[in-house]
């Protein structure tokens, strides 16, 4: 997935930083701990801004370039925060052949949020996601983890109406 550099200002709190330092301390000396550290850091902040990567670099001794290399490689690591309502439409094969591409386009159109980005007010983020493994319910979308299955283009309006 293509990634954009962080576009929002960093508002990390002292508590978040303390939690992050505790996570780094917990993994000290562990082989191959960078992925778990980044995953837990993302749970704390909701995304991985460069400021957070710099803290991890300073504490682990791994260069910030290398950390950025890892963070930007994996699609689960977010360089920008999700919207208040994170909408993901599955573009796995089973969903795609049953028209999930049209559903995704419709959502993007109705919310006026380009695919793969967050609305200016931070309310909605719309993304295409890899196979969710719920192929029996195809096409599938999730809003903040809530799953909607067997979708058609005409269902989009009613679903979005629940998230205002």
């Amino acid at each position: 997935m293509k990634k954009k550099l962080t576009t929002v200002e960093f508002h990390g709190t002292k508590e978040q930083e303390e939690k992050l330092l505790a996570v780094i301390a917990k993994h000290e000396g562990e082989k191959g701990a960078m992925m778990p550290i980044l995953q837990e850091a993302q749970e704390i902040y909701g995304y991985l801004p460069i400021e957070v990567q710099k803290i991890i670099a300073a504490k682990t001794g791994v260069s910030v370039e290398e950390i950025f290399g890892v963070a930007s490689f994996y699609s689960q690591f977010k360089l920008n925060p999700d919207g208040k309502y994170a909408i993901s439409v599955c573009l796995g094969t089973a969903c795609y052949v049953k028209g999930s591409g049209d559903v995704l386009d419709e959502i993007s159109k109705q919310l006026n949020v380009p695919i793969g980005s967050t609305s200016a007010d931070g309310k909605y983020s719309v993304e295409a996601t890899r196979c969710l493994g719920a192929c029996g319910l195809a096409p599938v979308m999730t809003v903040n983890g809530e799953v909607y299955g067997k979708l058609e283009k005409k269902d989009v309006k009613d679903i979005l109406a629940k998230y205002v």
């Binding site: 997935m1 293509k2 082989k31 191959g32 701990a33 960078m34 992925m35 778990p36 980044l38 995953q39 290398e66 290399g69 890892v70 490689f73 994996y74 699609s75 689960q76 690591f77 573009l91 796995g92 094969t93 089973a94 795609y96 052949v97 049953k98 996601t129 890899r130 196979c131 969710l132 493994g133 719920a134 192929c135 029996g136 195809a138």
Partner: protein, 513 residues
């Protein structure tokens, strides 16, 4: 489930239904039967008995021989003999650190059998990994799971804790001097991490890029140490092979592909879900009998197996008995077992583009043939689906596809052109229709679709014009016999091909072609 799947009349058991009758559940035997969060229920189903047997009655080499004899091949895609893999890593036991890994990074879109095993029978995987560790002489294992499967991760964590509490993981298992510990590592959404060397690089905490082989992981794998990596479904078969014997397992399936295979049946099919059948079952049986056929009276067009690495199997090959070698021979592959059924409304050029879009996105960028080659392939496909294709493009596609296959570093690139090659092989006429006639026969490729109003059927109500976002539908001067209003017409130059006119026409006067 449809009526056909249930049959008619009274059913005496679930196993009598058409959906289950001809399935043979080995890898999925406990899924949905036992409580996956209870180790006692697993033990009640002979769980950990195989581990007990190997530790107390068998030598490590004896275990490897048994797996070799069973003919079990890797269920993750390539079909490499599992016993062989173990044998390669078995040298120098006790003197070097070795690792046992489980590939649960089920990235193949449309496949979800590994998720099902992890969520429904996590102890089977843990038991099998301990058996593998004993066979090669390892004391540490890693399970690499996709982060997209939170329930699977949770149940694995519970299962590992329970196994530790029961002394089935940890030190001196079954009172022997065998020690084995297990950790979970979460993937982070990179398809390439399903490739063995990339997965290991990722566990090490780096960008998940593959490494050249040799050295093979059995010699130099995770953290530079001898490592074996097997898929979830492969592991799920191991305890039963140990308990029932290699001959029992080898009696199921075809000559070169033993046992069963789980397929994730999805797409345009009545009964979707996981289907476990003996190797050698025909595609027709899976689709028409177990799957109940294609819904809405549509015609079967193709079945896609092997995900982005596989190909599309046309109706002419529907009677092929499915095993590793037959699928390769018809230009597809087993892959992890995704089986997506497509009907006449799916455009094969569009499907090829869909998979390429996926591989372009997921190519890690390390080697040029894959990074640049897949992108160029997709550009040619884009040219074709937008109506600018020329016949020479077909030769270019084929030539480039073969270069990418032979020159890429890892399995992702080596198989990425398969969807293009297989659709060109079986659906060449569809490519030609896009190039020469500038038409998409299935009506999928938007730029080639043309909506038209039949003036004889149109009653002139104007609903189409009212709903047209491009305001490109106008009234003509022609009134068909028997109608009161003049018919409507679509001015093609401004049409955005949204299809709103067709959806809103109550008189079926609009056609798409």
């Amino acid at each position: 489930m449809s009526e056909k799947a249930c049959g008619t009349g009274v059913q005496t058991s679930l196993n009598d239904t058409v959906f289950y009758k001809t399935q043979r559940r080995l890898a999925l035997r406990n899924c949905g039967i036992i409580d996956p969060e209870s180790i006692d229920e697993y033990i009640a189903m002979d769980g950990y008995k195989a581990l007990g047997k190997v530790l107390t009655e068998m030598t490590p080499d004896g275990v490897i021989d048994e797996i070799l004899k069973s003919g079990l091949r890797g269920r993750g895609g390539a079909g490499f003999p599992t016993g062989m893999k173990w044998k390669f890593a078995s040298g120098n036991r006790g003197n070097v650190q070795k690792y046992v890994c489980c590939n649960a990074d089920e990235g193949d879109p449309g496949a979800f059998m590994d998720r099902s095993v992890l969520e429904g029978d996590p102890h089977a995987v843990i038991e099998a990994m301990a058996i593998a560790a004993y066979a090669i002489g390892s004391d540490q294992g890693y399970i690499y799971v996709r982060a997209e499967y939170p329930i699977a991760v949770k149940r694995l964590q519970i299962a590992i804790e329970q196994a530790k509490k029961y002394g089935l993981l940890g030190k001196n298992i079954f009172g022997t001097d065998f020690n084995f510990d297990l950790s979970i590592r979460l993937g982070a959404g990179a398809f390439v991490c399903g490739e063995e060397t990339a997965l290991m690089t990722s566990i090490e905490g780096n960008r998940g890029e593959p490494r050249p082989r040799p050295p093979f992981p059995a010699i130099k794998g995770l953290f530079g140490k001898p490592t074996i990596l097997n898929n979830v479904e492969t592991y799920a078969n191991i305890p039963q092979i140990i308990l029932n014997g290699a001959d029992w397992f080898a009696s199921i399936g075809t000559e070169k592909s033993k046992g069963t295979k789980v397929f994730a049946l999805g797409g345009k099919i009545k009964n979707t879900g996981l289907v476990e059948v003996p190797m050698g079952t025909t595609l027709r049986h899976i689709i028409e009998e177990i799957g109940g056929g294609i819904p809405n009276g549509k015609k079967f067009k193709a079945a896609q197996t092997g995900g982005p690495s596989g190909g599309c199997i046309p109706a002419s090959h529907i009677d092929t008995p499915i095993d590793y070698d037959n699928l390769l021979a018809i230009g597809s592959m087993m892959g992890s077992g995704g089986l997506i059924v497509m009907d006449e409304d799916n455009c094969m050029v569009d499907i090829a583009r869909f998979f390429l879009d996926f591989t372009v996105d997921e190519s890690c960028g390390k080697c040029t043939p894959c990074r640049v080659g897949t992108k160029r392939l997709m550009e040619i496909l884009d040219k074709i689906i937008s109506g600018n294709g020329e016949m020479e493009d077909l030769d270019r596609l084929e030539e480039l596809a073969n270069y990418i296959k032979s020159a890429s570093l890892c399995g992702l690139g080596q198989t990425a052109p398969n969807p293009v090659l297989s659709t060109m092989r079986y659906f060449r006429d569809e490519y030609i229709a896009h190039i020469v006639d500038k038409k998409c026969p299935a009506g999928v490729c938007k730029k080639l679709v043309r909506y038209e109003i039949d003036p004889e059927k149109c009653i002139g109500c104007g609903m189409c014009a009212k709903n047209c976002p491009a305001s490109t539908i106008v009234r003509t001067n022609y009134t068909a016999p028997g109608h009161k209003l003049a018919s409507m017409e679509i001015k093609q130059e401004n049409c955005v091909k949204c299809g709103a006119c067709m959806t809103n026409c109550k008189f079926n006067a609009i056609t798409k072609g």
